[in-house]
Symmetry: C2
Amino acid sequence: MVTIKDIAREAGVSITTVSRALNNYDDVSASTKELILKIAKNRGYVPNRSAQNLVKQKNNTLAIILSGLEKEGGKDNIAYGLLSGMYTYAETVNYEVVLFTTSTAQQKQKTYVQFCREHNIGGAVLHGIRTDDPYFEEIVSSDLPCVLIDIKTEGKNTSSISIDNIEASKEAVEYLISHNHRNIGMINGRQEAAVSAERYKGYEKALVNHNILVNPQYMVYADFSEEVSYVKTKELLSSHPEITALFCASDMMAVGSIRAIEELKLKVPNDISIIGFDNIPLSQYLTPALTTVAQDFYQMGNESAKQLLKMITKEKYENSVYLSYKLVERKSISMI
Amino acid sequence: MVTIKDIAREAGVSITTVSRALNNYDDVSASTKELILKIAKNRGYVPNRSAQNLVKQKNNTLAIILSGLEKEGGKDNIAYGLLSGMYTYAETVNYEVVLFTTSTAQQKQKTYVQFCREHNIGGAVLHGIRTDDPYFEEIVSSDLPCVLIDIKTEGKNTSSISIDNIEASKEAVEYLISHNHRNIGMINGRQEAAVSAERYKGYEKALVNHNILVNPQYMVYADFSEEVSYVKTKELLSSHPEITALFCASDMMAVGSIRAIEELKLKVPNDISIIGFDNIPLSQYLTPALTTVAQDFYQMGNESAKQLLKMITKEKYENSVYLSYKLVERKSISMI
DNA sequence: TTGTATGCGTTATCAA
DNA sequence: TTGATAACGCATACAA
């Protein structure tokens, strides 16, 4: 490994001068700077990040903390979208991104804050974290900048980011209503998730606005899982055959629902119309292509990183940012 | 930030003793160790990775270098599978994973080797890198441990990992042949990619083995892209209407082909049978579900990390490892 | 069992 | 315009 010391020796100057030349300070004579740069290049000098970070007391690193990175977890591509959006922004401001999962935290008995401190991380974005996670409170109330995806929060150096889930869900259900559906079921996510309450509220709102009776039995929780949704949909449609349309709180759950519907010898959209949520890449390739509420996870990751940087640089930042969503019409809904 | 110095002061011992206690050395009396640990916990002590890395001269970090992390690039989930497999193994050996993309490299004018040295990285896995990438040669011939996915290489501290693409392709095409197809087209990947040559070889082999004439015009390159494949498939099938089956060198290309076929007013599999490659999550949800050659990218990432660690710890490692593949039969192929 | 002293590679302060 | 020197937080060889 070649260090500034080596370069200094070869150039016949002090390490200070080398450091200044390398960092492009202007109090180095052009000639020595040139010499030093040339030597550095020839010898393949590369600065040592650890040393830099140590002395500079910061790291230029952002963390993304995910609930899981398991073998089967990535089908929806959400984590990927987040990561790539975040990475892309970070890159423009010369930051790096490191990954951390909740399962790692548990295994290593390490809290998110510990991890971040240990790595001298500037800020973190959290996704899929449960609010009853033992370490959740700690990181939110710490002064470490963090942005929470889909979870509201107040707290210094904390920002939340999401779409307006209530409005989006309301629109989705109203779209169903506009196709003359009245008996509309909802396949909701995890019961404890904040978004589940919000999306149900939107569902309710749409029905109420159109003078449709809200039947609580029409809503079931399916844990955001394809499998659970498959089971729950079967149950729901079997016990309530009057249902003609389903609002699913995630596309992956919609996939499970569709399978259930087919096994019930019913057709989408002729017998049952279905609208999803998220607009994951998969949804456009389904048959029929899934009508859904599109979220832009890339943008979400991008915006998260941007907020984080504002917090880090002590700029003014939004306490909660709402991104736009869009209803994308495809083929899974029919008029009654 | 609380350091070992603070703890030393509070405990009334030297920093050396603190360091030893924290690292669980056995030449510290039980009582002082206990005291130190207690203080560390109370004060929320967290070791500083930069300092540790600096003094230990290593980082316990692996890198994954990807060709891109763009907004639209992740549909196939391959990068995700690789990353998650790698991450999972790294976790078990207390390593971390950092991400780097070729576009970043270009933007920052930084070679992969520079990046790795700068970050004190123990080893890297490369995916989707082109062999004509200006920095490719450098990293392969450097002594930095690296494993290449889908690219053969010889060189010290270098290992390659893939499935047997020739055999896998041969099996795929033979599967088509066993369904009585004789005029079989191939939608290949990027012309310059090593795997493209291999997969074509397998295609050829299968035909020759069954005394079927190889028509070079039946093979087109589609750059592993859905869009290009869509265009090329249209061209191919229009100019060669005698073709009854297609072997696509990736599932994403198969998706493009299917769209082309439909627009040609043809049906899969009745008019055209189609077999893909990769078994991305999407393929099982297509209609008809896509028959394909399954690769396990999670395992590939996992195995890559494992090889890397062997190189780092100077154990004996495989110069090239072949993972198993599997033909998964679904609904996109019919008997003639 | 504990402490002193040194060094890892870099930046920053101050003086020359 | 340059150079000594200290400092960042930690681990370790050596001494006590």
